[in-house]
Amino acid sequence: MAPLVRVQGLKKSFGDLQILNGIDLDVEPSEVVSIIGPSGSGKTTILRCINLLERADGGRIEVDGQVLCDEGPDGGIRFASKRDIRKIREEVGMVFQRFNLFPHMTALENVIEGPIAVKGMDKGAATERAHELLASVGLSHRADHYPLQMSGGQQQRVAIARALAMEPRLMLFDEVTSAVDPELAGEILLVMKHLAEQGMTMIVVTHEMGFAADVSDRVLFIDHGLVVEEGRASQVLGAPAEERTKAFLRAVLERAPMAEEGDDPDQLNEEPTWSSDPLAAEEAARDSAELARLRNEVAELRQQLFRSGTTRSEG
């Protein structure tokens, strides 16, 4: 089967800053691909280029057989027409880090606006479908609430329902749990897991290593705008081959410091000296032990959530 998404040699820079240095990525239908990597590595930019929220400088992107951008014979990049871009966007749902719901509309209104405006669906049918979608993300009881009346986790689930209402063939998730309280991330991840099980093709930019390990078919580790390592989730996350991947995973999982470009790595490896006051130091140690305990608890809870699979705590 032909890949649903085909990205070849994707390049993007902002001013002098080269963000993407030639990314290749194929995504098969129903495949879930997680993109991980340090902050500033370009992972979000890949998603934004696939949805043309950002215009690539070079390379070729194809979604569902339609060419979004391609390099001409002269090396310059050409983009699909405005109309074609809108058509492709109908097939690509995107969920943002900061939800980006329309605050003057209720959850239901947020979900039906796209189908009515873009697909020309009639209001009755759109509303019926929206109720189903809100139920599927566990928010039937919130249909008439405004975004500001909901928690971050709930807002993000509305945002997922809103994207799904367009009946997309591909969903892009851009660090969708980063802006919500940690204890609410699980409910979003659960919805995404269900979506993956239903066969949705997904590209997920994430810092949730548990999710990446559990749900994705494939993981890409990106750094400095290049794919450093790519493979099955268990391989990249469990037995990474590249030093850079190992350092990153250590930094994420153990909160160990990771040297950035220009940093002196020796300095980072020294014991942190926050305070010379022995009492304060003791307190800090207690705090960090407490934090570690809490972090373990959350991780365990999240694991349980995943194992519990199809049942959902919030109805």
Binding site: E90, G114, Y146, L148
Partner: protein, 218 residues
Amino acid sequence: MDLGFIADIVPEILEGLPTTIGLFLWSMLLSTVGGLLLALARMSAVGALRWFAVAYGWLIRGIPLLLIMFYVFFALPEFSRTFLLSPFWTAVAALSLWTAAYQAEAIRSGILAVDNGQYEAAEALGMTRAHYMRRIVLPQSVRIIVPPFMGNAINTLKQTSLATVITVPEMALITTRIISREFNALEPLLALAIIYLALTTLLVFGQAGLERAFRLKV
């Protein structure tokens, strides 16, 4: 102070009320359209439009309205007789040009208050830019625009009195005629002040009503 005298002259001053209101409503209509166009020009991708909008605001907000009024009345017709307008329409033109510069800023602040993330969400859903402006930006920015917009409206209402200097028979001109006829300034000026206060008070209530109507429901 002679209250009987005030009662006598109020009806005479009010003969200028339709003119005052005419100046105000025409200026508000034209300056709102102009202000919207200027605000959009200021945020346009076209450099020349942005430049024009900035220069316009700088110029108009930097010189007195009285000067603009004189300019439209005396100077413009020297370029071409097509600019020769009646006193009333001269005042409308000057007030509109002047108010538009302020309304542009009020409208722009409202549009800018809608964060870019919503634009990206609308784009990602495949909405057109026009649909985004109408259904997403407008309802949210209106409630932000209302207070500064109505503040500008109150200013424009008061500034219609400047049309006196180009002989538009609005309330202030009639009042100055009464003063020179009666050799008495106290009561006519007091009466005029009370009428303006009543009108601006109506606008304040109007603003409160608009703010209620456009309040974000949460």
